[in-house]
């Protein structure tokens, strides 16, 4: 082949550059579109809901009058349900992920388990609701309580936590494991001193992504029968209630509502004044999710700083 002249080389580059720029422009357009939609949604909620951003909105129970209705029972309910979810899902998910990566032998059984964990992440959340209705609400007799809701959402996010735990563990180089085993450590010592601490940023990210998903879930919570109109809080431990002093864990059996249900309830009312409440509550929910993500990013950054191979 004859070598190209300078002119020809320049025209080849120019053609290449044109495609380069074309793709760049397309990319920027797509990105901007997505961002504009999100920003518009948030702005819409803020504008619509602005007249409800008062302290009373956070401290009032639900009410038939839109201007007096608040989200107290909803945000308290959401936080308590998340607490139960985290307490149930984190130890289970991390232990399961650790076992699968560090202890389990590779055979057909673990392969089937692996495939199914990935599949579980794709099961529609309403199915978890139906499962929970049968098992937690009726079989175990937990009723329509914070405990039932927390455990349901825990099941829902368990696959997310297991998968992210496994990925975080897999990112640890084999030489670290070997270095630990070579001084005579057991598997558990290796996990306890190395694998778990080094995987922690990744695990934490998975946990928070899971919780952020759970806090917005509506379908399974409705399925197990959360109330939509509730004008009391779960009993605070060791305070006087109508039936005597509340125990440390009485609140887990309490009826409850959560943010997405409260929003859903308000949007389905005929009175347009409730749309303002819904928009305001939607913004609060959004802020809760975003701040959870912010915490995740901060913690991951802080923890990763010290972990270098």
């Amino acid at each position: 082949m004859k070598p190209l002249t300078t002119e020809e080389i320049r025209s080849v580059i120019a053609r290449g550059k044109f495609k380069d720029n074309l793709f760049k422009a397309t990319g920027v357009f797509c990105l901007a579109l997505a961002l504009v939609v999100i920003v518009a949604l948030i702005a819409d909620m803020v504008i619509k809901g602005s007249e409800r951003f008062t302290l009373d909105f956070f401290l009032n129970f639900a009410s038939r009058r839109a201007t007096q209705a608040g989200i107290l029972s909803a945000w308290v309910g959401s936080l308590l349900v998340m607490l139960v979810t985290a307490l149930a899902a984190v130890p289970l998910g991390v232990a399961a992920g650790l076992y699968l990566e560090e202890y389990a032998k590779r055979n057909w059984l673990t392969n089937i388990i692996e495939i199914n964990i990935t599949n579980l992440a794709a099961v529609p959340s309403i199915v978890y609701g139906l499962l929970a209705l049968g098992i937690f609400v009726y079989q175990f007799g937990f009723g329509q309580s914070i405990l039932s809701a927390g455990l349901t959402l825990a099941l829902l996010i368990l696959p997310i936590i297991i998968v992210s735990t496994r990925e975080a563990i897999r990112a640890i180089p084999a030489m670290i494991r070997e270095g630990s085993m070579a001084v005579g450590a057991t598997r558990w010592q290796t996990c306890r001193y190395h694998i778990l601490p080094y995987a922690m940023p990744g695990i934490l990210t998975g946990v928070i992504i899971g919780l952020a998903r759970a806090i917005g879930e509506t379908a399974p919570i409705i399925t197990i029968g959360a109330l939509t109109f509730i004008a009391f809080l779960p009993p605070v431990p060791f305070t006087e209630t109508g039936e005597g002093t509340a125990g440390l864990f009485d609140w887990v059996m309490s009826p409850f509502t959560v943010m997405p249900i409260q929003i859903f309830n308000w949007t389905s009312r005929p009175d347009p004044a409730f749309e303002v409440n819904a928009a305001a509550a939607g913004f609060v929910l959004m802020a809760m999710v975003l701040s959870m993500n912010a915490v995740a990013i901060y913690l991951r950054y802080k923890m990763r700083k010290n972990i270098k191979w």
């Binding site: 070997e178 270095g179 001084v183 005579g184 450590a185």
Partner: protein, 259 residues
């Protein structure tokens, strides 16, 4: 050769075979390791030197499908290191290892060295302090790190990291120290420091070292074994092997005609 010249045995491979699944990686290896001497394993890539080395501390047990045949006798107690009744953790507590690439844990310098002791249940601060210092001195890195023991080990240079890994292995007083190409990731100056250290260490501990570098084998070792395709071709005193190899294949390798 007179009898009193003969050093004592620290370990001995007897009819050792090793399989990665179906693939036979080591073929009927017989070889002595002498006490308080440096034994070098040389040979072309893929000849099984690292596989052989990693048999001594049962590293292969960490992965499924690996299988040993034969024995590695460990003295003075004449334990068969490869016996299924012998716990690999017990073996690793007696035999230390330094890897090809420095692999300090992402923890402080102090914790890296103290780790082996902690694993053995030692939590007394004073004992740990003493042993950490002793090990760091033994690895000729104490003066460089004594003022920053709480700093992250990853802040050290590659050569320092490798010496830290040697200190980590020394902290628990191993009887045998395995080196798997310890200088292949280091520059010549750091390499020289490690070689000098190996020379110093053999007063205290028996050393088995895999190396790609024949000059290194000649410089640091008392005995050398040449391996090829999973077989032990020749074993002898280092000066004899390098000056007058008995086997044609050894000669080809060390004169650079092959490998």
């Amino acid at each position: 050769m007179q009898i009193h010249d003969q050093p004592t045995l620290k370990a001995e491979a007897r009819n050792l075979n090793f399989y990665y699944g179906e693939a036979k990686a080591l073929k009927n290896i017989n070889m002595p390791i002498y006490d308080k001497k440096v034994t070098a394993l040389i040979g072309p890539s893929g000849c099984g030197k690292s596989t052989y080395l990693r048999s001594f501390n049962r590293m292969h047990d960490l992965y499924p499908g690996n299988r040993y045949e034969g024995e590695i006798r460990f003295f003075p107690d004449n334990t068969n290191l490869l016996s299924p009744e012998v716990d690999p953790i017990e073996v690793r507590m007696r035999i230390g290892m330094v890897f090809q690439k420095p692999n300090p844990f992402p923890k402080s310098i102090y914790e890296n060295v103290a780790y082996g002791l902690r694993v053995r249940g030692e939590n007394n601060r004073r004992v740990l302090d003493d042993k950490v210092e002793h090990a760091l001195r033994g690895a000729a890195i104490w003066d460089e790190v004594k003022d920053r023991l709480q700093e992250l080990a990853s802040n050290l240079s590659g050569g320092q990291q490798q010496r830290l890994c040697i200190a980590r292995a020394l902290a628990t007083d191993p009887e045998l120290l395995l080196f798997d190409e310890p200088t292949s990731a280091l520059d010549p100056i750091a390499t020289a420091a490690i070689e000098e250290l190996v020379h110093e260490l053999k007063k205290r501990v028996t050393i088995l070292i895999v190396t790609h570098n024949m000059q290194q084998a000649a410089r640091v070792s008392d005995y050398t074994a040449y391996m090829f395709l999973g077989e032990m071709i020749e074993f002898g005193k280092t000066d004899e092997i390098f000056i007058k190899p008995q086997d044609k294949r050894t000669e080809d390798y060390i004169t650079g005609r092959m490998g």
